[in-house]
């Protein structure tokens, strides 16, 4: 027995012995994946470094001779410009409102998909259809729907005049863009929540029922806490997605009446104005702000999870 408990002293102190064959195999493995790693670095790191480099120039594609090194001045211009903050604010508004509404409707859809007994396939498919539609197409569809000339929305809403132009002012145009975004991506949200819902143990719900918990109590005290991870993933994915909102705006207002998001501003600098320097600076700022949003959401949910652990 004692021989088993005391390991050989030599083996514990020294390095593990690796045979020549194993070493050669490791080297071969490294050599085999090296091209893929180099390619990955080229594909992902090169554009980022290039954007960083370009962002230090005042450089318009149509005036290649007038390229000047300006250091961080593009960042300074962007960060001190009211337009940058206005677009950031409107982007945050798009994100918060659409994600909040999608979370509620998406959860309801997930419940329906989870509990439905008859025609399960048909119901699930029809809930998911909007997500299969290209965002640009959904943008056009909703643009037509909101049009006062050939749309149906004005006819449906009793408090809106028949010739009300939804894309004429910021509030209504933003609402129309949000509706199209919510319609398009709620199914994605409900799909993620459905996965979470499926993980909630039926036994726990059953036990709560036996204890006399009402439907609301079961939802708030049993189902939702157990879905926290799924909800976090859903909110994180959708929030990052919504922060990059572009297509609907591009199609429905082309950024008019102050509906443009930060992605749209970046697009306009780079692609429409050919201002590569400022466009790159904005894309770097966009990248950083996406990181901040992701960090905040993860942080927010982590705090909640920690609290949940203390309670239990």
């Amino acid at each position: 027995m004692s021989a088993v408990t005391a390991p050989a002293p030599g083996k514990q102190a020294g390095k593990p012995v690796v045979s020549d064959r194993a070493r050669a195999e490791t080297r071969l493995g490294q050599r085999l994946v090296a091209p893929a790693i180099v390619l990955m670095l080229l594909v992902t790191a090169f554009p980022m470094l290039r954007a960083l480099y370009l962002s230090t120039f005042d450089y318009a594609l149509t005036a290649p001779d007038d390229r000047d090194f300006v250091g961080l001045s593009n960042y300074l211009t962007a960060l001190t410009d009211g337009l940058f903050w206005r677009t950031t604010l409107i982007t945050v508004l798009y994100m918060v409102v659409t994600v909040a509404i999608e979370l509620v409707i998406g959860f309801a859809f997930a419940m329906v998909m989870h509990r439905v007994i008859f025609a399960r396939g048909v119901i699930r498919t029809s809930i998911l259809i909007p997500y299969g539609i290209i965002t640009v197409v959904s943008g056009f569809a909703w643009q037509f729907a909101f049009s006062f000339q050939n749309g149906f929305i004005n006819g449906w809403l009793p408090f809106v005049g028949d010739d009300f132009n939804w894309f004429g002012q910021t509030g209504s145009a933003v609402t129309a863009i949000m509706v199209s975004e919510i319609w398009k991506t709620t199914p994605f949200m409900s799909l993620l929540l459905l996965a979470g819902l499926a993980q909630v143990s039926e036994d726990m719900i059953e036990a709560a029922k036996v204890d006399g918990a009402t439907w609301t109590q079961r939802l708030v005290k049993v189902i939702l806490p157990n879905m926290r991870a799924a909800i976090m993933v859903a909110v994180l994915f959708r929030a990052l997605d919504a922060y990059r909102i572009f297509d609907n705006i591009f199609v429905m207002t082309a950024g008019a009446v102050k509906t443009e998001s930060i992605s749209f501003l970046t697009y306009r600098q780079t692609i429409e104005q050919f201002q590569l320097g400022m466009g790159s600076a904005l894309s770097v700022l966009l990248f950083l702000s996406v990181l901040v949003v992701a960090f905040l959401i993860v942080k927010l949910f982590r705090v909640d999870l920690a609290q949940a652990r203390q309670e239990s």
Partner: protein, 428 residues
């Protein structure tokens, strides 16, 4: 099996772009008059090369973006391209266009002074830095289209130049509307530019200085332009979709189910558009009620400056066959091609000789043809600058929406903003 299929595909792909056959020159065209372009692509192909038509997107902005992306990447397959006149300066300054040389360049240069065969308004659009970078194909211009019955009801004498003020009043008092292009896009700048020039001013001057161009919109002319826009926006004559209106939206207001119709500033295609609807949606009488007059004046007594548009043909700087491409460009801008475009597609010629032939064909009313021709010649081009996109964008940013335009603040605001944008001090 799969490997064999991939190999076969690769082999097929390689042979398709091999050097054995005749080279194909790509001609990027905007989607107006594509049938005629296809016809001329065939006619202008030779034993040395074939011409192939490639369609660009609908809007001028998207056309520019697509061409610029190709040219910025030094694409050798962009041989010929249809360019909106405002893009010529930008593209030439970027080094993306072959210079046009020889007698054709001389003709175009002397046409700018009014001595050549090209309409001076059209010739003006293809020069940059005293050189010629494209060949005018068709020259577009805007005129005032209106319902004769509406003008009559308002007691307007349309044989005399009318002002914006008169047109707006006439429409408002007689249940009519005024159609313009006021969405947040390039055509809105076309309107603003015409209004400012009509009052004797300009958006910017000294544009060859690039970023140091002189911003001139904060002027009496700029304020006059703002007054017109404000007057229309506040008037009953404004169409409900004023803030998002474009060339197409106001077409439907000319012969509405109820109401007196409209006065509309729009390009030359309008005549053929309504003529084509006679019998299906329009009656002969309605069509006979369609009138046309010179672009409205901003200030009474001062001649208006109708917008100049159209298409110029440029040859890509990175083309593998620049000489052939230039030869093809001359062929597709021939007099006959211009006549065909006018008769088949309503796109008006850029040379006097072609205009004479179109007038002689009897396809258009003689006075309309003459109106188009004088409008191009007396027209006001938009600023020619390598930074035109910035100028246009900055103006749009401050002048849109039309309902927010205020003569006391908008011209001043936009001048400051435009100067900042050009200097790189402000975001656009």
């Amino acid at each position: 099996m799969a490997v064999a299929a991939v190999a076969a595909l690769a082999a097929g792909g390689l042979s398709a772009c091999g050097s054995s056959g005749k080279p194909t020159l790509n001609w990027y065209v905007n989607p107006d008059g594509v049938d005629t372009f296809k016809k001329y692509a065939k006619e202008c192909s030779t034993d040395d090369y074939d011409l192939e038509v490639q369609e660009l997107p609908n809007s001028a902005t998207d056309q520019r973006t697509q061409l610029a992306r190709r040219l910025a990447a030094k694409d050798s397959s962009t041989d010929l391209m249809n360019l909106d006149p405002v893009f010529v300066a930008e593209f030439a300054n970027a080094g993306w266009l072959q210079e046009v040389e020889g007698d054709l360049a001389d003709t175009i240069m002397s046409s700018v002074e009014g001595d050549g065969d090209y309409l001076s308004g059209a010739a003006e659009t293809v020069t940059w830095d005293d050189k010629v970078y494209a060949i005018p194909l068709w020259a577009n211009t805007q005129v005032l289209w209106y319902r004769k019955s509406l003008a009559q009801a308002a007691g307007l004498d349309m044989t005399q130049p009318v002002t914006w003020d008169q047109v707006i009043q006439a429409a408002a008092d007689n249940d009519g509307t005024v159609g313009v292009q006021a969405n947040k896009y390039e055509a809105y700048v076309v309107w603003i530019n015409a209004l400012v020039q009509g009052a004797g001013g300009s958006l910017v001057s000294d544009t060859e200085a690039g970023r140091d161009a002189k911003v001139e919109i904060d002027s009496d002319a700029g304020r006059k332009a703002a007054e017109v826009i404000q007057e229309l926006a506040d008037s009953r004559a404004a169409q409900p979709d004023l803030t998002v209106s474009n060339e197409g939206t106001s077409l439907g207001q000319m012969f509405p189910a109820t109401g007196a119709g409209e006065f509309m500033v729009n390009w030359t295609f309008v005549y053929k558009n309504y003529e084509g609807q006679v019998g299906s949606g329009l009656t002969e009488d309605q069509f006979a009620d369609l009138g046309w007059a010179r672009y409205p004046a901003t200030v009474e007594g001062e001649p208006s400056k109708p917008p100049v548009g159209g298409i110029d043909i440029g040859v890509g700087a990175y083309s593998k066959h620049p000489d052939w491409a230039m030869e093809a460009a001359r062929c597709i801008t021939s007099e006959q091609a211009q006549v065909d475009l006018a008769l088949d597609n309503g796109l008006m010629p850029s040379t006097n000789a072609a205009y004479d032939k179109v007038a002689a064909s009897g396809d258009y009313p003689a006075d309309l043809i003459e109106l188009f021709r004088t409008s191009v010649d007396d027209g006001g081009p938009r600023p020619k600058s390598a930074f035109y996109a910035m100028i246009s964008g900055a103006i749009q940013a401050r002048w849109h929406s039309p309902t927010s335009v205020d003569p006391d603040t908008t011209p001043e605001d936009s001048a400051k903003y435009l100067a900042d944008v050009l200097e790189g001090k402000s975001l656009l």
